[in-house]
């Protein structure tokens, strides 16, 4: 596995510019975090299609909706805490709800950074651990959490071509590269990164790398783990999860989000209906984050048990009960 790092926001900004060149209907909106989200590059290249509305997120969401209603493909971005966190009503009522005929919701892509605990030093006020839960329960909304910069780049283009509302969450910090540039991503289809039959580790976002590390360690101890990147949380890949349950007998889920209502909950819902097997959910332990410098983020993760060591422990725990 590669140990390269990539910056999700940079990948997002670059992808937007490429999209902007190909399609003049792409418009990009920001709320005073456009340098941070790396969307300002699009603004320099296409100033007439770039709207920085200031620190006014509710307005950001509904302006994006209006543009989309008039035929534009709107990308609206800021930190996760300010979109699902602050504007759930506007997202629900001005983006997801309006539907006409086959067109379910308006064509707005909400792409955020600073999702999860890895925000670090800014502290608990900025560490969003609720966004997946919030967005997942809104009808017509699709939810993606890419694992690395390659996934961000590919998925940005993918959602631009797929009609409807999307929520895509990125992390603030640089993340380990998981994918080669030739990897393809299909919405609704998880990706098996490693095969195995003793247990499954299903992960999202930056925890995918942890899952791979854990699987490697477990392999050394003779436990063969399957690792699935469930970057597509909604629609979730039921087939891949059912198959994993059937073939490996247990699933450990990982996410940088509250274990309540998030990815782990989504997997539990699917598996308990289709093929119940033991599940362990790794994620924020229903408590808020706090400041941690970049060098300390691993400590913050440890506090919540979001580590490859804890994944290993949970895999072993499941196997001991099988």
């Amino acid at each position: 596995m590669s140990t390269e790092f990539g910056d999700m926001r940079t990948a997002y900004g670059k992808a937007l510019i490429e999209l902007g060149e190909q399609n003049k209907n792409i418009v990009v909106l920001g709320a005073d975090t456009t340098d941070s989200l790396k969307t300002s590059g699009f603004g320099k290249q296409f100033p007439e299609r770039f709207f920085n509305v200031g620190i006014a997120e509710a307005n950001l969401v509904s302006v994006a909706a209006g543009l989309a209603y008039s035929g534009k493909i709107s990308f609206a971005s800021t930190y996760a805490i300010f979109l699902p966190g602050r504007c759930v009503d506007q997202i629900r009522n001005s983006i997801a709800y309006p539907s006409r005929g086959e067109k379910k919701g308006l064509n707005v892509k909400l792409v955020t950074s600073h999702g999860g605990l890895s925000v670090g030093a800014d502290g608990g006020s900025h560490q969003t651990i609720e966004d997946i839960a919030i967005m997942r329960v809104i009808p017509n909304m699709k939810v993606l959490i890419p694992a690395d910069a390659v996934a961000v780049s590919k998925l940005t283009k993918n959602i631009a071509q797929t009609y409807g509302p999307f929520y895509m969450r990125m992390a603030r910090s640089k993340v380990s590269t998981v994918y080669s540039n030739s990897q393809e991503f299909e919405i609704g289809k998880g990706i098996t990164l490693r095969d195995g039959n003793d247990c499954t580790i299903a992960a999202t976002g930056i925890t995918v790398k942890m899952a791979l590390d854990a699987a490697e360690k477990l392999q050394q101890g003779g436990i063969s783990c399957r690792v699935i990147d469930c970057f597509t949380i909604k629609p979730i890949d039921k087939d891949i999860l059912e198959k994993a349950a059937r073939e490996t007998g247990g699933i450990v889920t990982c996410e940088e989000h509250n274990i309540l209502g998030g990815f782990g909950s989504a997997v539990s819902e699917v598996v308990s209906e289709l093929y119940p097997v033991p599940i362990r959910r790794i994620g924020a332990q229903d408590m808020f984050g706090e400041s941690a410098r970049d060098s300390e983020i691993h400590q913050l993760f440890e506090k919540h048990g979001i580590t490859s060591i804890n994944i290993e422990k949970n895999v072993k725990d499941i196997r001991s009960k099988q």
Binding site: T33, E57, S125, R293, L300
Partner: protein, 260 residues
């Protein structure tokens, strides 16, 4: 009277040591914070004591600086700024540090919180003031205007709201991003008592606060502080110092300037 430049030095130390934090918006508040903490008991945190709500939470280093200057937090605690398990969080957290009166960081919420406090004081028949500090960029949040609309309804003349009008926000100049002008007219049209003063002149700050606390018109007061982001250190007076961290040379030069 607390020396504002001492506060600036403490801010610099924190940000320099931890390589993160917001200098620009902390510096623009140094005089105001010096004045307020020199003249009001903002550390005792009793039910009816005066309160300060720092709505622009990212400027919290200036609060840590004044608490350090007043010896409410130790040298060791100051060194924990932005660290894990620290009382000195990246944004103010009143549960982790008892001298703070509000947990903020998500912009636009502080005025509403301050209104709650001001109503509370009124209910207790306390004359103690509630201070709220808003950023200028933050004025773009609709919730701020919900607060501006509400406070006059309750005749909150015990509420003094400062706007740190330093003209710069994350992405650039406020006037380019979403201009607030004519700011004074805007707030006047929301039925507030409005003043516009220099935010770096202690005398003007003192006079305007004294003249308007518990005023007879029974109106909340808004004091627009015309400030400079990064004020106090010549080369930091520019929008780029919103969240920039100084290198060693810059740090030394800045401390030197502040010691003159």
């Amino acid at each position: 009277m607390i020396n504002p430049n001492n506060l600036r030095k403490h801010v610099l130390r924190m940000v320099f040591e931890k390589k993160s934090g917001h200098i620009g918006g902390s510096f623009s508040l140094a005089e105001l914070i010096s004045y307020l903490y020199s003249n009001f008991d903002l550390v005792s945190n009793e039910k009816n004591s005066p309160k300060l709500i720092l709505s622009k939470g990212h400027s919290v280093p200036i609060l840590y600086a004044v608490l350090y200057e007043l010896k409410k937090i130790t040298d060791h605690e100051l060194s924990l700024f932005r660290e894990i398990n620290s009382p000195l969080q990246g944004h103010p957290d009143k549960h982790k540090l008892k001298f703070l009166h509000a947990t903020t960081g998500s912009l636009g919420q502080g005025l509403s919180i301050a209104i709650g406090h001001a109503l509370g004081q009124k209910i207790q028949n306390s004359k103690n003031p509630i201070f709220c500090i808003l950023g200028d960029g933050e004025m773009q949040e609709g919730q701020v205007w919900e607060g501006f609309m509400l406070a006059p309804k309750f005749k909150l003349n015990n509420l003094i709201t400062f706007i740190d009008y330093n003209g710069a926000q994350s992405d650039g100049l406020v006037s380019d991003l979403l201009d607030l002008e004519p700011l004074k007219q805007k707030i006047t049209s929301f039925n507030w008592n409005v003043l516009s003063i220099s935010g770096h002149n202690l005398e003007e700050i003192e006079n305007s606060v004294n003249a308007n606390i518990n005023n007879q018109y029974e109106k909340p007061t808004c004091i627009i502080l015309n400030t400079k982001k990064g004020h106090g250190v010549s080369f930091m007076e520019s929008p780029e110092w919103h969240a920039k961290v100084p290198n060693e040379e810059e740090y030394k030069k800045a401390i030197e300037e502040l010691s003159c």
